[in-house]
Amino acid sequence: MEWIYILLMALASSLMVIIYLVTKLYKVSEQLSIIEDSLVDIKKGNWNRRVLVNENDITKTICYSINDIAMKSQTQLIQLKQSEQAYKRLMTSLSHDVRTPLTSLVGYLEAVQKKFVTGKEKEEYLEIALNKAHHLKGFVEVLFDWVKLDAKEQVFKLEEQDINEFTRDILVNWIPTFEEEHFEYKIDISDKECFIRLDPNAYIRIVNNLIQNVIAHSEGTRIDLQISENEQNVMVQVSDNGKGISPNDLPHIFDRLYQSDESRSTNGNGLGLAIARELVHLHKGTIHAQNSLYGGTAFIVKLPKVL
């Protein structure tokens, strides 16, 4: 009698094992059909397709690899598209923002050449034309810089820098300009060291562009520079007491070539803030502007401490 019980036990346990294996097999085949569907889709060019897989599935590594390949191909494809777009944007820029001063330059020079103006007025025309030509030259230079940035062609070298010390060094060079332009300035930077990884040239450009923007556009009389830090980020703030930015324009000011209508004049090229933003993004930081309650605008650059 004894052996019957043993046999039954063995039978029952082997049945359990079989049921377990069958369900496992069923699950794997289900996952394989999902993989197959996704691969068909990916083959058709949908590089965004991902295969989702459970933590302890046998096919986990295969699925992760498929996803990785799809994601990398997608990134490459998009980078190609982006450099194409950067080129297109250069062309639009050239046609819009170079053509305008160039046309007006031609207008002045034609007037001189066809002798519509003479004497003192002629001299004045020539001077305006020359100024316009210089401005145009400067603009084209900045434009190419920006295109390079936009196409991510420029090489960045991040190194450990004491941001407090480094910023002070940049600001020293600005003090004569502040005095010339009748700007009161207040600098609030801690003496403590605060090392973060940044590209020195890029960082100089960010600070310079923000200050330049305040001097050129704020119409204020005071500029405040402040650096503060918390656990994750360092915040660099440049604020003024000028006219502020209208809420309609505020979201657009970092867009390339965006200038609110009134200030669409000669002393700005609409690229400074766009460049600053690109550079901040290369540091994986954020930049934004807000109007302060007491008038004026504050630009805040947030840079992460750990890249």
Binding site: N46, R50, T100, T103, D261, H288
Partner: protein, 307 residues
Amino acid sequence: MTKYTIETKQLTKIYKDQKAVNNVNIHVKKGRIYGLLGRNGAGKTTIMKMILGLTSTSSGEVDVFGKNIKGREKQVYPRIGAIIETPGFYPNLTGTENLNIFAKLRGTSAPNAVKNALEIVGLPYKDKKLFGEYSLGMKQRLGIANAILHDPELLILDEPTNGLDPIGIAEVRDFIKKLSVERGKTILISSHILTEISLLADDIGIIDNGILLEENSMEELKRKNGKYILLQVSDAAKASLILERQFGLKSYSVKDDHTLQIYNNSLDMASVNKALILGDVSVISSQLCNDTLEDYFRKITGGDGIA
């Protein structure tokens, strides 16, 4: 592959004899951001719920990835990430634990999926803070993290910037844009704030009282709407000289050899025309565009405007 990631055909939802959504046909193109703009209660959330199959349709059809979603939930849902209204989570768990639950339920597309998703939205990984102690902004961010956790092809985001502060809004906007530009995701986003949509969307659908009033690309709308004078003349160079010298005009751009766009609507067109003719420039046409996007939306929604 169909061109549209989401297409609705005559989509209608009736609540107690009232048409909450009325014959709506929206077309969300692959790889683009579609902004659904409308006042609170206009039917945006209902449309999104119907697309996701979270509420029944009274009539009409919804195609997602080219096919009807009914009966294919198991294949389609893993490819979609969504937040509808304010997303809820388990208050007795931390953000990371909450996401771990969803990662386990859905499966993941890559190792460290939870950590990556939290990083993108700017929340700390393995933080001790319970979801119940989160601020509204953090809750919203966790909701977005959950929507992108499985790296889906399609994101459906219902008012994703609700409850965020201005810095947060800018950050969320930045990474939504990034997801579309750098990762090629298709995104359907709703908002009641015009600037929000105009900054993000490539295509826009305007909905009011359940009716889709307009569907168009942002580019087209921006081209059609802006405050400027379009001037067609025989010689742009001469015209620009006259405008600069006699009217002190600075804000204008030259589109081509015969077309000028003037961003100063207060200009007296009669005297401009006269001066140009005197200066031997013939005016082919002048066109005054006096609508901003806001004016446009006010017009098509019947006077009240949006936000």
